[in-house]
C-alpha cells in the first residue's frame, strides 16, 4: 500500500501542492500569533513562581535585610551596578539571573550573547545598547565602579554584542502606583529617548566582580510562605521600614501599594485578558485553513472515486482508500512544517519580519502537531462520508 500511496500522492500533486500552501499559511500565522502571545506574556511566565497572596514588592533591601525577615519563601530581584564610562556618561549595568536571561535575553543587532574575550577569560563580558561613544562588538572598555569599601576602581568589560532599540529590558525607573502590574517591570528601551547607555550581563559573568563591586537589589519581589501569620507579617514590614529609614532617612516605606497579593491578582487578570484576546485569532486561522484543507480533500476524493473503484475491482477494501488520504496528509503536514521553519529562518535572516515575532519552540510545535492531527481526523471523516455516499457498484455502473 505504501508504493501505491506514493503513486497516488504523485498523481494528485497539484491538490497536495495547494494543501501544503494552506498548511504553511496556517502554521506561519499560528507561529506568529503564539510567539507574539508568548512574548507579551513572558513576564508572567517568568514571575509565576514568585506571584502569591502573601508578600511585598518594591521594598528597599539588601541580602542581609532579606535574611532577617521571617517565613520568606522566594525572592526575585533585579541587580544593577553603575559604571562610569567617562566624566559625563554613566551606564547602568543590568545583571540578569538565569530566569531573566531565559525570557528577556535581548536580540542583538551585532555580535553574540556574552561571548568570552578570547584574550582574557577573566574579563567580564557584556552586551551594550546603541550608544554615541562608538562602542561596538569586540571592544574592551574601561569603566569606573564603586567597590565594597566605597572607593572607585577601574574595571574592564569586553563588549560581545550590541542590542538595538525596542528591546524589553529591566526597568530601573519603575514607579509603583495603585494599579501597578508586573508587566511594568520591563520597559521598552530607546537610546534616542534618553534612556542612556545600558550594559547587560548575567550572573555567571558578574560573579567575577560580585564580591568586590557594589550592586543594588532593585525592587525585589519577596514572597512569604502561605502560612505566615499577621504578627510575622507585621514584623517583616517593620524590619523593611527600619531598613528604608536607615538608608534614606525617610519613614513609612511599606504600604498597600507594595502588597504582593493585590499586584499578583491584577497581573494575573492582565495575563488572562492577553491570552483571551489571542485565542479567537488563533481559532479563526485554524478554522479557515481547516475548511480549506477539508474542502480540497473532499473534492479530491470525489474526483478520485472512479480510481478507487478500479482499485476495488483489483482487491482493495473500499474504505482502505483512507490510507491514501492519511498518507497524503501526513506527508503534506511534515512538508509544510519543514518549509515553514525554512521560511521563518530566511525571513528572520533577511530581517523581513521586522517587528513581527516568530519562533518555533515546544509550545508552537505542540500546537502545530495538534492542529495537523485535528485536520487529518476531520479530513478522514469527510472522506469517509464521500466513500459512504458513493458505492463502488454505482460508480462502476456509471462507467
Amino acid at each position: 500500500m505504501i508504493q501505491l500511496s506514493v503513486k497516488e500522492y504523485l498523481k494528485n500533486k497539484w491538490f497536495n501542492f495547494f494543501s501544503i500552501i494552506l498548511l504553511i499559511s496556517m502554521i506561519l500565522s499560528s507561529v506568529i500569533l503564539i510567539s507574539t502571545m508568548e512574548k507579551q506574556t513572558r513576564i508572567y511566565r517568568m514571575l509565576k513562581p514568585y506571584m502569591g497572596d502573601k508578600g511585598i514588592y518594591g521594598a528597599t533591601v539588601d541580602d542581609e535585610c532579606i535574611e532577617s525577615l521571617q517565613r520568606v519563601d522566594k525572592v526575585f530581584a533585579g541587580s544593577v551596578t553603575y559604571c562610569s564610562l567617562n566624566d559625563n556618561e554613566v551606564a547602568e549595568m543590568l545583571v540578569y539571573d538565569k530566569r531573566v536571561e531565559r525570557y528577556f535575553k535581548p536580540v542583538l543587532s551585532e555580535g553574540g550573547w556574552l561571548r568570552e574575550n578570547p584574550q582574557s577569560e577573566d574579563m567580564i563580558s557584556a552586551v551594550i545598547s546603541n550608544n554615541n561613544l562608538g562602542i561596538k562588538t569586540g571592544d574592551v572598555i574601561t569603566v569606573r565602579v564603586t567597590s565594597q569599601n566605597g572607593e572607585e576602581e577601574q574595571r574592564q568589560i569586553y563588549i560581545s554584542g550590541v542590542f538595538s532599540d525596542g528591546q524589553k529590558i529591566y526597568n530601573t525607573e519603575v514607579y509603583l502606583h495603585s494599579d501597578f502590574k508586573f508587566s511594568e517591570m520591563f520597559d521598552t528601551y530607546s537610546y534616542e529617548q534618553l534612556d542612556g547607555i545600558v550594559l547587560i550581563t548575567n550572573m555567571k559573568e558578574y560573579d567575577k566582580w560580585k564580591d568586590s563591586v557594589v550592586t543594588r537589589l532593585y525592587k525585589p519581589i519577596i514572597r512569604f510562605e502561605d502560612g505566615i501569620t499577621e504578627e510575622e507579617m507585621s514584623y517583616n514590614v517593620e524590619v523593611l521600614d527600619d531598613y528604608h529609614s536607615e538608608i534614606s532617612g525617610l519613614k513609612g516605606n511599606i504600604g498597600e501599594i507594595n502588597d504582593l497579593g493585590a499586584i499578583s491578582k491584577r497581573s494575573r487578570r492582565e495575563m488572562r485578558s492577553l491570552y483571551v484576546s489571542y485565542i479567537p485569532l488563533v481559532m479563526v486561522a485554524f478554522i479557515l485553513v481547516c475548511l480549506g484543507i477539508i474542502g480540497i480533500n473532499t473534492v479530491k476524493t470525489a474526483l478520485n472515486t472512479k480510481y478507487f473503484a478500479k482499485l476495488y475491482l483489483c482487491g482493495m477494501n473500499w474504505y482502505h482508500n483512507m490510507i491514501f488520504v492519511t498518507f497524503e496528509m501526513i506527508i503534506n503536514c511534515i512538508a509544510a512544517f519543514f518549509l515553514s521553519v525554512v521560511i521563518i529562518y530566511i525571513l528572520r535572516l533577511f530581517g523581513i519580519f521586522g517587528r513581527v515575532y516568530a519562533e518555533i519552540h515546544a509550545r508552537q510545535a505542540g500546537f502545530i502537531i495538534l492542529m495537523c492531527v485535528a485536520i487529518i481526523i476531520v479530513s478522514l471523516l469527510m472522506v469517509c462520508k464521500v466513500m459512504h455516499e458513493n458505492s463502488p457498484v454505482d460508480i462502476l455502473k456509471d462507467e
Binding site: 500500500m1 508504493q3 501505491l4 503513486k7 498523481k11 480510481y307 473503484a309 478500479k310 482499485l311 476495488y312 475491482l313 483489483c314 482487491g315 482493495m316 477494501n317 473500499w318 474504505y319 482502505h320 463502488p392 457498484v393 462502476l396 455502473k397 462507467e399
Partner: protein
C-alpha cells in the same frame, strides 16, 4: 465451483419502490467451464456478475464459492477474493489511464499477500495476452483492443481460477472483439473457469454453455 441457491438482489427492500434486480437465481458453474450469461439490457446480467465477483452483496439466498459461504464473510475477505480468486474484466477496461501498462497490471499485486517477484509475474501475465512489448507504454495511448488485453492481464496477474468478464467486447469492433474472445478461450483451455456477460449471441455461442437471464431470473441454462 460457483453455486448459487435462491439468490435475490433487492433494492429499497420493504419500501414502496422495492425492486428485485435478481430473483431466486439458482446457478452452478463447475471448474473449467466456459459460460456466457446472456440477456437483454436491464435483465440483471451485470447484477449477477457483481454478485459472482463479490463486488456487491445480496439480500436472500446462498452463494458458495469453492465451498465458502460468501454471505458469511466480511468486506476484507471479499476483497481478497477479488484480488486472488476471481479476475474481473470490465467493458470499459477500468484501467488507470495515467499509469503505464506495467503499472496497471501491477495493481492487484499491491493488495496481494504474496509480494514476491512482482515484475516477473507482471511480465508473465503480459506474455499470456501477447502485449509484453507494450509494458512501458501509457495506457491512454493504446487502442481499445490493447487496453482490453491489459485489463485481462491485470485480471490474470494473481493467477485466479475464475475470470469474470462483463461485456469484454462491448467497446470494441467485431474483429478486435473476436480476438479478445480468442484470448479468453485460450485461458479456458489452460484450465481457468471463464464467465462472460454479453448481449451478443455470436459471442455467447463461443462458450461451452449459455445461461439466459430475463427479468432478473434464470430463464435457461
Amino acid at each position: 465451483m460457483i453455486k448459487m441457491e435462491n439468490v435475490s438482489k433487492v433494492y429499497h427492500k420493504g419500501r414502496d419502490n422495492e425492486f428485485y434486480a435478481l430473483r431466486d437465481v439458482d446457478l452452478t458453474i463447475t471448474d473449467g467451464e466456459f459460460v456466457s450469461i446472456i440477456g437483454k439490457s436491464g435483465a440483471g446480467k451485470s447484477t449477477l456478475m457483481h454478485l459472482i465477483g463479490c463486488i456487491d452483496s445480496f439480500e436472500m439466498g446462498k452463494y458458495e464459492l469453492n465451498g465458502m459461504d460468501i454471505s458469511k464473510i466480511r468486506g476484507s475477505r471479499k476483497a481478497a477474493i477479488r484480488n486472488a480468486e476471481i479476475g474481473i474484466v470490465m467493458q470499459d477496461f477500468a484501467l488507470v489511464d495515467e499509469y503505464t501498462v506495467e503499472e496497471n497490471v501491477m495493481i492487484p499485486l499491491y493488495f496481494s499477500k504474496d509480494r514476491h517477484n512482482r515484475k516477473e509475474r507482471v511480465a508473465k501475465a503480459l506474455e499470456l495476452v501477447n502485449i509484453a512489448d507494450l509494458s512501458k507504454k501509457t495506457v491512454s495511448k493504446l487502442s481499445g483492443g490493447q487496453k482490453q488485453r491489459v485489463a485481462i492481464a491485470r485480471a490474470l496477474v494473481n493467477e485466479p481460477k475464475i475470470i469474470l468478464a462483463d461485456e469484454p467486447t462491448g467497446a470494441l469492433d467485431s474483429q478486435t472483439g473476436r480476438e479478445i474472445i480468442d484470448v479468453l478461450q485460450t485461458l479456458n483451455s489452460m484450465g481457468k473457469t471463464v464467465i462472460i456477460i454479453t448481449h451478443d449471441m455470436e459471442i455467447a455461442n463461443r462458450a461451452g454453455r449459455i445461461i439466459q437471464i430475463s427479468d432478473g431470473k434464470v430463464a435457461m441454462s
